[in-house]
Symmetry: C2
Subunit: 335 residues, 2 copies
Amino acid sequence: MKNLMKKGNTIFFKNAPRITSYAAICGSKEKIGVIGEFADITLDDDMYGETTYEKAECKMLANAIALAIEKGGYKEDDIDVLLSGDLLNQIISASFAARKFNFPFLGVYNACSTMSESMMLGAMMADAGYVKRAVAATGSHFASAERQYRYPLELGCTRPPQSQWTVTGAGGCVISSDGDGVKITSATMGRVCDYGVTDVNNMGAAMAPAAAATIIQHLKDTGTRPTDYDMILTGDLGALGSRIVKDLTWEKGFDISSRHVDCGEIIYKVIESEFQGGSGAGCSAVVLNSYVLTKMSSGLYKRILFAATGALLSTVSSGQGESIPCISHAVELEY
Amino acid sequence: MKNLMKKGNTIFFKNAPRITSYAAICGSKEKIGVIGEFADITLDDDMYGETTYEKAECKMLANAIALAIEKGGYKEDDIDVLLSGDLLNQIISASFAARKFNFPFLGVYNACSTMSESMMLGAMMADAGYVKRAVAATGSHFASAERQYRYPLELGCTRPPQSQWTVTGAGGCVISSDGDGVKITSATMGRVCDYGVTDVNNMGAAMAPAAAATIIQHLKDTGTRPTDYDMILTGDLGALGSRIVKDLTWEKGFDISSRHVDCGEIIYKVIESEFQGGSGAGCSAVVLNSYVLTKMSSGLYKRILFAATGALLSTVSSGQGESIPCISHAVELEY
């Protein structure tokens, strides 16, 4: 038996796999915000030349994957595996995107924490020498998510103030066992947390306890303090959820307030009385694979904890009266 | 950079992680077949004391996981991670089952190949020293699958002869870096194959090319012949799909006919003019984690290639005119 490279729920990567390339595509509403100038492709029309929202979502994801490969100077043959999933039933965006490539595909799903989950698995595979290069990618589309999870846009339903806006966008990165780039030094696997929230319009409140649990677990396992990181980046808690995660970690003796940034909070200009910000698997995928990795590569940030969060519900589970189990996986990035 | 432990799409496990425990639960129709006497729990009522089919499915999966842990003499604290997924939208069976345990959860989804996908990832994590013990598990339920993918049972729709029967059952195993049991010596990652089949009642035909591609890839990567294996076990191709996979591999110069067994073909007594046998993520999960691993542990089989197959469609993708992309991942088992 080999020595265990794990402490608590955190896995340490001795060979520090690198993010050697990344790419992001975002929609027309996302383009206006902070990530607009950092995304590789910004859409004017969220249909992206397709006939359905689902096909547009799949095209964004496939193109983000292809672009990440191309930007790294790689060819399709250089990639050993794709790790991807998305919010659509049976992760069809990822599966149909994978059909376009000739490398193997491992489907993953932890809702909006799919970006950090796929990065974690990709880092494990590259670190252990199972693959040279893995692509981790995910995405989402506002219109396909609305009609699957809530109401078709054509119905014109009113959105409650605690709701978030599913990001139209996709992002992906190439994780390599060699080359230059941001290093993945450790990863903390999340456990399912369920505080009994049943309001499907209040994902931020449901997911905040999972984010807090994983961030605290990571800090304990690694023996670090929040101030050791330039940024503790959550996925899509939104404005309300961000306040809750700061409270929950503070209660346990970890003050993350000076370091915490939420992708959902920064992707749009948030007016909290109107809505809470961005959500969806594409939210953290786009922010990480555009603004964050670009700023890290330029030396602005040296160490970031990226903890994307996912709400593991479905319309069936909510319809049957269940509360919302949530999860958060974290990867530690260094440059 | 470490030495690559991969050839082609096959990963080799130097430390040969072991399946130290396994468990299976099956429904009332499955109980009558060959696996009835090997499953740990067989249901008389497929509702399993729950109020909905989905809750029954989740309960089966959670209990199969708990039983696999218990049968190995483990406690919950001995398990480092759960790798699981299922056919329900947003893999709610796996997510809600994971809620019952205090170890981390990584959601995976490749339809009915989820059993071999999760075993492959668990073997990687145990082999590399990231975890001591991982649980790989999946399941399905006839009634929840029918109403999600086709029609609610209450409608009484007629089934076409090329259709398969989604297995009611769940199975799981503990993959350890130490202890005794069947060894996982290698794993072949599958690529998405799509031969343009659009008939959602003919999954066997859609999935057979993916199974053939992965089996051939495995034989090439490992330099083995079909007769080097006591059994080449596919997941749920059914009677028609099994004939196609034998033809497709034979055409490429690999005659697997003397070694091929399909879980979907053996789980029920198949009358091909009526229906094609079992399917669903639970099909291969139950057959592997009852009959196959028991017979292997008794020395009857020494070497098995387990290649579960998945159809990566959804009702939305089919409704939008798409064909059915399929995938198959294989793990090599030795005792």
